[in-house]
Assembly symmetry: C2
Homo-oligomer: 198 residues x 2
């Protein structure tokens, strides 16, 4: 499936391997779409070349992007590469300290909030839990941690960090959307519901 088109794309065909309901995948898709970079989307929930996917993602991780002759995992590595190859429109700030704040926030989502709410991680630690119990554990973790992070964000502008749209707007919205799907309560948050429903 082709997700978006851009005749100016100079890099040859980009291929992105994703699954539905994976907020790590949403981060990359939304970044590609914001930058109007064309790509072919391989939905792993649909029939696909499983042998090829296994060859480029030996541990079965998603998202994976094929770009510039390599296959790359880790959403933050992917979006940083996209920022280097397609700097306009930017998804990071132009000055070093604001850029550091951008990375601080998206990394908090990626390494402090996301891994512990991952369904596989919850089941690794608590294999006795039922499906609804796993969902509740995940929702509680996302909600309590997003409440902390929210105090850093949307302080003076309509953007998560600084004065323009950037990667934290995407990373925070993606995990908030995941939280909503797991049942977190939007009125508990001040600024997040407006982005989560936009």
């Amino acid at each position: 499936m082709t997700a978006s088109s851009d005749d100016s794309e100079p890099l040859g065909q980009i291929r992105l391997y994703c699954a539905a309901h994976a907020n790590c995948c949403d981060r990359v898709r939304w970044s590609l779409d914001y930058k109007r970079v064309s790509y072919a989307l391989v939905d792993l929930d649909q029939p696909h070349d499983a042998a090829h996917f296994a060859s480029i993602s030996p541990f079965g991780r998603i998202p994976v992007i094929e770009i510039e002759g390599i296959a790359l995992t880790e959403s933050m590595a992917i979006v940083e590469l996209l920022e280097e190859l397609h700097p306009s429109p930017p998804l990071n700030a132009s000055d070093p300290t604001t850029r550091a704040r951008v990375r601080e926030v998206y990394e908090t989502v990626n390494s402090s909030i996301h891994p512990v709410q991952n369904g596989g991680v919850v089941r690794h630690f608590r294999p006795e839990l039922s499906g609804p119990e796993v969902r509740q554990v995940r929702a509680d973790w996302i909600a309590s941690n997003l409440l902390k992070v929210e105090s850093w964000l949307w302080l003076n502008t309509g953007f998560a960090i600084g004065s323009s749209f950037s990667l934290p707007d995407i990373f925070v919205a993606a995990i908030f959307q995941k939280g909503l799907s797991l049942g977190i309560n939007p009125p508990n948050f001040q600024a997040l519901p407006s982005i989560g429903h936009s």
Copy 2:
């Protein structure tokens, strides 16, 4: 305490807040030392200005660095900022795709291996475990995941990625050192023991 000195340091006093045995802190200290950037080290296991630390790290997270007039958490955001402010000697590659590989590997350590072995996370999920049981759970997670990552690294050179020393050498060595302290068995690994003991 002053950890290292460099008379050419142009940025004023950098202050790094760390605790012993925190491999996230080791990543930043080793990066600063490799780049010969001077900094004052605040050891949070020793008497310190707790009110000031609470003001710059409202969630109590470490490491925190005071640099360029801001206080910044998240080791990856810190080391990326150091790379921008102090590019020589480099801790990342000069070409985009190798730089993406560097980020892919250090992010795998930071967001896939580290959070799940974190003592607080293990106790969050399994509060009934004894201290030695927590250590075993942590060691098992580090060992099984490092075995996967090791297959990506030290493929053709004496460096984790590419042809020079870079952030993955530091991030992987720090988590391997943590694993050793928790009792993982070095002979189970091919390349790691040589860096872990160097």
